[in-house]
């Protein structure tokens, strides 16, 4: 019987997974963009970002672009590595015999 791959539970939550996937693909995005793309409410996104930031997966920087206040988010190196590892675990899980 093959080993059941262990998934990172912090990333496995759908909203946080969406945030990680978006940031992995884009590189850097602001709060509003993540809110729209992830279809999240402001409070929901804020709490998920805080969890990801505390885990060291996401770096958050508050800045100005022209007169526009921006909360810029990007994956840290650790965040990128963890996300890649999560994707590999998921691939292994989906490739297990009997998984379809």
């Amino acid at each position: 019987m093959p080993d059941f791959p262990e998934l990172n539970r912090l990333i496995h939550e759908p909203a946080r997974l969406a945030i990680m996937a978006i940031l992995y693909q884009i590189g850097e995005a602001d709060f509003l963009y993540l809110k729209r793309e992830g279809n999240l409410t402001q409070g929901n996104l804020s709490s998920h970002l805080t969890k990801l930031e505390e885990a060291g997966y996401v770096a958050i920087k508050k800045t100005l672009k022209g007169k526009l206040p921006l909360t810029l988010c990007r994956l840290t190196t650790q965040g990128q590595e963890v996300f890649v590892e999560y994707c590999k675990s998921m691939s292994r899980l989906l490739a297990l015999p009997g998984s379809g």
């Binding site: 995005a29 963009y33 793309e37 526009l68 206040p69 691939s91």
Partner: protein, 225 residues
């Protein structure tokens, strides 16, 4: 389907139509000045006007990210948010394949790409040079058909695929030009003018749709955490 890592960013970059509008205006102005110079104003000072129009196009070609970023800061980012602008070109090292479940590696900024300058805009430049080689009245009609096909096929799998019916008017532009017997020396500017106007129309339509769909926010962006 395999995708660039930054396909999402590249598609977002074009969602407001500003890149197409800016490059379309530059191309149309440059080609239009050239056309006017050849057809109506064969005076030496027109060389200077053509030079200035070309310099504007070159500036946009070199610094389009910075120029468009200034425009987007006022128009796009307050409405739908900021995402890191894509680079122009293709990723180095052949890292073309990535799916969510099979990431080859962490995406480098090189993966976050679009091919607008080296794709769409370059096609019209090369088309203009290519038309000069024709010595026939109907050469421009054939050339525009080929350019239209290249624009359609070249973007079929890109972040901004063009539908065949939207490219059709561009591809058929050469026929009236041939019927009107535009002088051969002026025909080399037709791909730039037609391409520029076509991009302007697309950009203006996309921008109007974007502005209608995304109203300005009442509350400034922020994070409470």
């Amino acid at each position: 389907m395999d995708e660039f890592a930054g396909r999402r960013a590249a598609a977002y970059w074009f969602s407001d139509g500003l890149p197409e509008l800016a490059f379309g205006l530059a191309l149309a102005a440059c080609g239009g000045v050239g056309l006017a110079w050849v057809l109506y104003f064969p005076y030496p000072w027109m060389r200077l006007v053509l030079l200035l129009a070309s310099a504007w196009l070159l500036a946009l070609y070199l610094w389009d990210r910075k120029i468009l970023d200034v425009l987007k800061t006022r128009l796009t980012y307050p409405r739908t948010g900021y995402a890191q602008p894509p680079r122009d070109g293709y990723p180095e090292g052949g890292e073309y394949t990535l799916t969510l479940l099979k990431p080859a590696a962490a995406p480098s900024p090189q993966n976050n790409v679009t091919a607008f300058r080296m794709g769409t805009v370059y096609i019209f430049f090369c088309g203009s040079l290519w038309v000069s080689a024709f010595e026939d009245r109907w050469g421009i009609a054939i050339a525009m058909l080929v350019i239209g096909f290249v624009v359609y096929w070249g973007h079929k799998w890109s972040e901004r695929p063009y539908s065949w019916w939207s490219v059709l008017p561009l591809a058929l532009t050469g026929i009236p030009v041939s019927i009107l017997a535009v002088p051969l020396r002026a025909q080399k500017f037709v791909p730039m003018v037609a391409g520029g106007l076509w991009l302007c129309c697309r950009g203006a339509w996309t921008l109007a749709r974007y502005l209608r769909t995304n109203r300005p926010r009442q509350i400034t962006e922020g994070m409470s955490a």
